[in-house]
Structures are given as C-alpha cells and as structure tokens.
Symmetry: C2
C-alpha cells in the first residue's frame, strides 16, 4: 500500500475560513469546484477569498481529507468523502451525484498488470460515470 504523502497535517489552524470551506463540502454528495464553493460561501455571506478556497482545498486534498477528480474539461472538483479508506466513485454526468464504491478485484488487477510490465510504486485512479436513476427518469419523461 504505502502512503509517502501525508507528511504533516499537524500544524493547521482552525480558522473561520477553513471551517466554512469544510462545512460547505460536507453536506453534499456532489463534487464541487473551488469556484462553486467560493460562490456558495459568498451567497451565505461567508466572506472567504477565492485564493483561500483554492489553498485550503488543495491542502485538504493533500491530507486525504477530501477527494479530487478532474472534470472532462480539466477543472478540479472536490468532495469530502464518508470514508478515509481507498475507494472510487460513480458520478452522474448530469447532476454530479457521486456514490463511493470499492472493489478488491480492481485493486489487485491494477497492481498486477502494472507489475507485469516492470512498474513499481504503482498508483491508480478509476472513475466511473453515467446517468443516475433520477436523471435517467427525468430525461425520458
């Protein structure tokens, strides 16, 4: 497994902004972009600088407190996950709803197929996307 990342996480101060960002993240099952979060906070009269939102999201992602994935057009979106354990997501292309999933089969396959080709320090990302039941229903209505 290994996790050479996560060096510190220690010296992080609980500022008003930091808390606001974390809260904005928990409470939704969707991945949100830094800008969306910034806008959401502003709407709620929580004044937080855009740069601060970016910085904290990155920090949280680095500490593994939130997951990050890249939209098809390269935008980074974040989500605070229910578990700290390694997992993946199934995301709805239409509404953004994301559910967490795991699967030993994939984990082992990734490790094995990479090792077969002489690779080491193997990592992987798996993203599954589709239309959630609700969106599929809305579409055919």
């Amino acid at each position: 497994m290994s996790e050479q990342l996560r060096t510190d996480r220690a010296d992080r101060r609980p500022t008003r902004q930091r808390t606001a960002i974390a809260e904005a993240l928990s409470g939704t099952a969707e991945f949100r972009s830094a800008q969306e979060i910034h806008a959401a906070l502003a709407r709620r009269d929580e004044r937080v600088g855009l740069a601060t939102v970016y910085r904290n999201l990155q920090a949280m992602a680095g500490d593994g407190e939130v997951d990050v994935i890249r939209t098809a057009d390269g935008e980074a979106v974040y989500r605070s996950c229910a578990t700290d354990d390694h997992h993946h997501h199934v995301v709805c292309r239409s509404c953004g709803l994301a559910v967490e999933v795991t699967g030993d089969a994939v984990e082992r396959w990734a490790e094995a197929v990479a090792a077969e080709h002489g690779f080491t320090e193997i990592r992987h990302t798996v993203e599954i996307d589709g239309l959630c039941a609700a969106c599929a229903a809305a579409r055919t209505r």
Copy 2:
C-alpha cells in the same frame, strides 16, 4: 457497449499539417501535450500553427484515432495507440512511458458496480501510473 460517439470522421482532408501532427504522434510511446507536439514540429522546421495542433488533436481524439488523458495538473496529453480496441494505460510518472493494457475483470466490475447503484449509460476511465523499470533503476543508481 455502445459507441454513440464517432458520428462522421468522413470529411477530413489530408493536409500537410494534419499529416505532420499524426506522424509526430506515432513514433513515441509517451503521451505528449499539444504544446510539446507543436514545439517538436517547429524544431523539425514543420511550420504548424498552435491552434491547428489543438484542433487536429481534438478531432483525432473525437474520432478515436488517438487517446487523451489529463495530467495531474489538468493538461491534456495525447498518444496514438496501437489498437483501436478499448484499453487502458500504465504510465511512468518519471519518463512518461506508457504501455497499453486490458482486463475484462475491470470492465465488468465497473459496469456492475455502477448498475448496482442504478446508473445507466456507464463509461469509465482507468489510469495506472508508477515507475518503469528503467527509471526505478536510474533512481537507485
């Protein structure tokens, strides 16, 4: 399965630029960015506008002639693959070397786990990265 993409691909003219770009792509086992390709062509005295490189790469990607993945920092990188069939890549974090791999287990797992949660029109992306044998050796030397 399904492939609702790939609508036409018919009316595409074989221009000097188009050929140069395709050639620059075939011949390397690494994923290259639009800018890298543009620079490589310039170095070879093949004058091709940057916008043209972007346009053609996108078109080729849309036609499935090349594969695109996003770098960790959101940059799009392209590679002309050996096969047209669905597959994934194991990429070296250090030198960019990429080998193509397949695995029914993953394909089925992705489909199954998404369907379990009520998703339809399921797609997926899987990227594995690590250190290739050569880079690992160079590092410990």
